[in-house]
């Protein structure tokens, strides 16, 4: 009987030690798993960040985000300024070619076993820019930007965010004389009504036209035409049109059309009511995707110019 109790006690001690060791092992495995996931998260994030930084360098190196200079002034209001030469001629730009090369390079040389790098820079070349958190887009038409120099249009589409839009200010600086141009002034069913302020000024080598300003209804058309301007390629025009088709769903949409004969330094400023969230300017979503296939860890995001 005495021997039986001793044996049982020793067995129990062994079992307790074994149980504790198993428990320790399970916790260690859990910790190991979390640490490995952390290592992979870091790897995915670092690969993403190095590609994002490369794109930012390409865009910045080759003249202010591929030809568009973006600035933000934050005060009681948020003012976002876009400056570029219109009409846009992207096919001659080097940044588009370099983006293609970098896309090929990253997809070839940064792909590893269990790590997939998938880039979509096609949409970047036309430089559509998104202002967050307003979901306002600054885009170029045609959207593929692959056609020969053609009429370029800039559309600012507030979609559901039109109520945060207070004003548009546009400034054009053609490198030529403007005094002889034909100005029709603000005209359309929306003009001189409503609360959306529109402003335009043209600074030529001979004189300054404007500033001309008006207010408009968000859901109605109001436009300003400057025709018969002396441009490098012949006569040209600048048309600034708010809500071209007077549509409810196009509230706040602004189109800027510059004739292909011209090369005009154009600045568009949006005055926006401040809302919670940091103002960010980025490319459209899902430009860079890095995925680890074993643990299914993925980072799929865009390239931020401001506030990323």
């Amino acid at each position: 009987m005495k021997g039986f109790v001793s044996t049982l006690a020793i067995l129990l001690i062994f079992l307790v030690v074994f149980f504790l060791a198993s428990n320790f092992s399970a916790k260690t495995s859990e910790f190991l798993d979390i640490t490995i996931k952390n290592l992979i998260l870091d790897k995915v994030y670092n690969t993403f960040a190095s590609i994002e930084y490369g794109v930012q360098l390409i865009l910045a190196e080759e003249a202010n985000i591929g030809g568009v200079n973006v600035t933000i002034e934050e005060n009681n209001f948020n003012i976002v300024n876009f400056s570029e030469i219109l009409p846009r001629r992207p096919t001659v730009s080097d940044f588009s070619k370099d983006l293609d090369r970098f896309e090929k390079f990253a997809e070839t040389k940064l792909n590893e076993t269990n790590l997939v790098v998938d880039l979509n820079f096609t949409d970047l070349k036309c430089l559509p820019l998104v202002i967050s958190p307003y979901n306002i887009s600054y885009t170029h038409i045609p959207t593929d930007c692959m056609q020969a120099p053609a009429q370029t249009e800039v559309v600012i589409d507030p979609q559901n965010s039109w109520q945060y839009l207070n004003s548009y200010t546009t400034l054009f600086k053609p490198n030529g004389q403007v005094a002889a141009a034909d100005i029709t002034g603000w005209s359309g069913p929306g003009c001189n009504k409503g609360t959306l302020r529109l402003g335009i000024a043209v600074i030529g080598t001979d004189t300054t036209l404007g500033p001309y300003s008006t207010t408009t209804l968000y859901d109605k058309m109001c436009k300003f035409n400057i025709d018969n301007m002396a441009c490098p390629g012949g006569f040209g025009f600048i048309h600034v049109i708010h809500n071209q088709n007077s549509k409810e769903e196009d509230r706040g949409v602004l189109s800027i059309e510059v004739h292909p004969n011209c090369n005009i330094n154009s600045i568009v400023s949006l005055n926006l009511t401040d809302i919670p969230g940091k103002v960010k300017v980025s490319f459209p979503p899902q430009s860079i995707k890095v995925k680890e296939t074993l643990y299914q860890i993925e980072k799929n995001d865009t390239v931020y110019i401001f506030g990323g």
């Binding site: 062994f14 030690v17 092992s25 640490t35 290592l39 930084y53 360098l57 190196e61 080759e62 990253a106």
Partner: protein, 145 residues
């Protein structure tokens, strides 16, 4: 005879059970010996160092001596390292393939003996006349001395 047999059987069973439990215990305990947290820490250091060298434009120089000096300055003394930068350029204007540029690759401490090293990898670009000249991949291997 009968008594001795049962005694031996009992002893054998006890030894088997004890051995299994001891081996199991040591096996489970040995799992806790892997220093994975240490590896994570070293990996973070290695990646941070590469990011710093990329953003302060040191990597772009492709200057072996300069990069080595900076690495010696930045990395903690208890870490040894090996750096390999492979430099590529487009094969043609259409850039169908990327060829390694001979004479441009950077190798620092290539013969160091690695012990359980961690690798950090980062791509970077070198520009000339506002256009991409070289596409490079830097691999930094770091381990405890």
């Amino acid at each position: 005879m009968k008594k001795g047999f049962f005694f031996s059987l009992d002893t054998a069973l006890a030894v088997i059970v004890a051995t299994v439990l001891i081996i199991g215990t040591f096996f489970n305990l040995s799992k806790g010996q892997e220093d994975v947290f240490g590896r994570l820490y070293i990996s973070k250091i290695a990646n941070d160092v590469l990011i710093t060298l990329n953003k302060n434009k040191t990597l772009d120089t492709l200057d072996s001596a300069l990069i080595k000096n900076r690495l010696n300055d930045i990395l903690p003394d208890n870490l040894a390292f090996k750096l390999n930068i492979t430099v590529y350029e487009c094969d043609s204007s259409t850039c169908q393939k990327f060829n390694v540029v001979s004479g441009k690759n950077v190798l620092i401490n290539p013969d160091s003996q690695e012990i359980d090293s961690i690798t950090a990898k980062r791509s970077f670009l070198t520009f000339e006349n506002n256009q991409i000249k070289y596409f490079s991949v830097a691999e930094l291997r770091v381990w405890l001395r």
